[in-house]
């Protein structure tokens, strides 16, 4: 059977220098991604809806949900969840968004990214990165 790791632990195993550095920065000062997102202003609105039978939510990630921890260095200050499980999302320089499920096709908003992930998942659960 496969062992379920948190995404953060998996990242640490694979690219410890990079991710460790990013996480370390987040503890002491705003990481570059976070600071830049703040400078861009206009954080996208929060949302919470049922889309094709799945609950999708988006909003600031600092509010105590499990997503807050691993967003400091790379995801900015916004988190998206599908049925409660975090979907890793990222904001591009032009303001568009991608997720780890649709990584190569930017969309206008986090909600559009969450909906695209639901369509792509075809009912499958989003899970933390798993390693054999």
């Amino acid at each position: 059977m496969s062992t379920v790791l948190t995404r953060r632990r998996a990242l640490g195993a694979a690219a410890s220098a990079a991710v460790g550095l990013a996480a370390g920065r987040a503890l002491t000062a705003p990481a570059p991604a976070f600071a830049a997102a703040a400078h861009q202003g206009t954080a996208p609105e929060a949302f919470d809806e049922i889309y094709q039978g799945r609950r999708i939510q988006g909003g600031p990630s600092g509010g105590g949900h499990h997503g807050a921890g691993h967003h400091g260095g790379h995801g900015g200050d916004y988190a998206v969840r599908v049925d409660g499980e975090e979907l890793h999302v990222m904001r591009n320089a032009d303001g568009t968004w991608i997720s780890v499920i649709n990584h190569y096709e930017p969309l206008a908003t986090p909600r559009a990214v969450a909906r695209a992930a639901v369509r792509e998942l075809q009912g499958a659960p989003l899970v933390p990165l798993t390693l054999a």
């Binding site: 990013a22 790379h74 904001r91 032009d94 990584h103 096709e105 792509e120």
Partner: protein, 275 residues
Amino acid sequence: MTVRKNQAQLTAAEKRGFVAAVLELKRTGRYDTFVTTHNAFIMSDTDSGDRVGHRSPSFLPWHRRFLLEFERALQAVDPSVALPYWDWTVDRTPRASLWAPDFLGGTGRARDGQVMDGPFARSADRWTVSVRVDGRDFLRRALGAGGRQLPTRAEVDAVLAMETYDMPPWNSASDGFRNHLEGWRGANLHNRVHVWVGGQMATGVSPNDPVFWMHHAFIDKLWADWQARHPRSPYLPTAGTPDVVDLNDTMRPWNDVTPADMLDHTRHYTYDTAA
């Protein structure tokens, strides 16, 4: 010397050799370490922060080294194997021999996207998708779904004509050759091919599909073609750029290789055509 060939020109024996070596890396667990590394960089490379593998000037040298590591792993299994490249401007439909059952297998079925034929089908029990972002452990594809089209030769040529390697702000917003090849701007070459294949290829764990290597081998060849066309255009930036890998900076995760070390592919392999 390793010669990387167009996948369409491979003999049946060469296809069998490549597939067998890939399956052996999968069996030993080595294959999945490449998937894990790629996804770690996908998730940590950001436009406004540290960026190495993607959305940055080092996209090309980083993937050149990544493919070299994979090719060396294949050759440790079978020294006769080289990475083939997929010229998607020519072999641009799901009917291409690339997708036949004796090579990579075809597109996924409608119900769940599952690839049902070829050596990487889940039913053959030699290709379980273990490093994944959702619950599905089978290889998926949706070749050309929704009427999507692969880039044309004319679109490639227009990008190859760009003289400047890369430009500030050195990310997904940049003008210049690298970002147009990567596809965050303009006609969209590399990114669009990931989306055309669909399934895991559209995700951060895209190396779960063996076509990943052939796609990137062709992107790598286009870099070599661009260098041949613009011999006086250097890798940029050269020094002192925050969050970005300059010409002589080392690249994670290896920390022993710089973009400068990766500029000349002929130290490691050649292509079956003159650049």
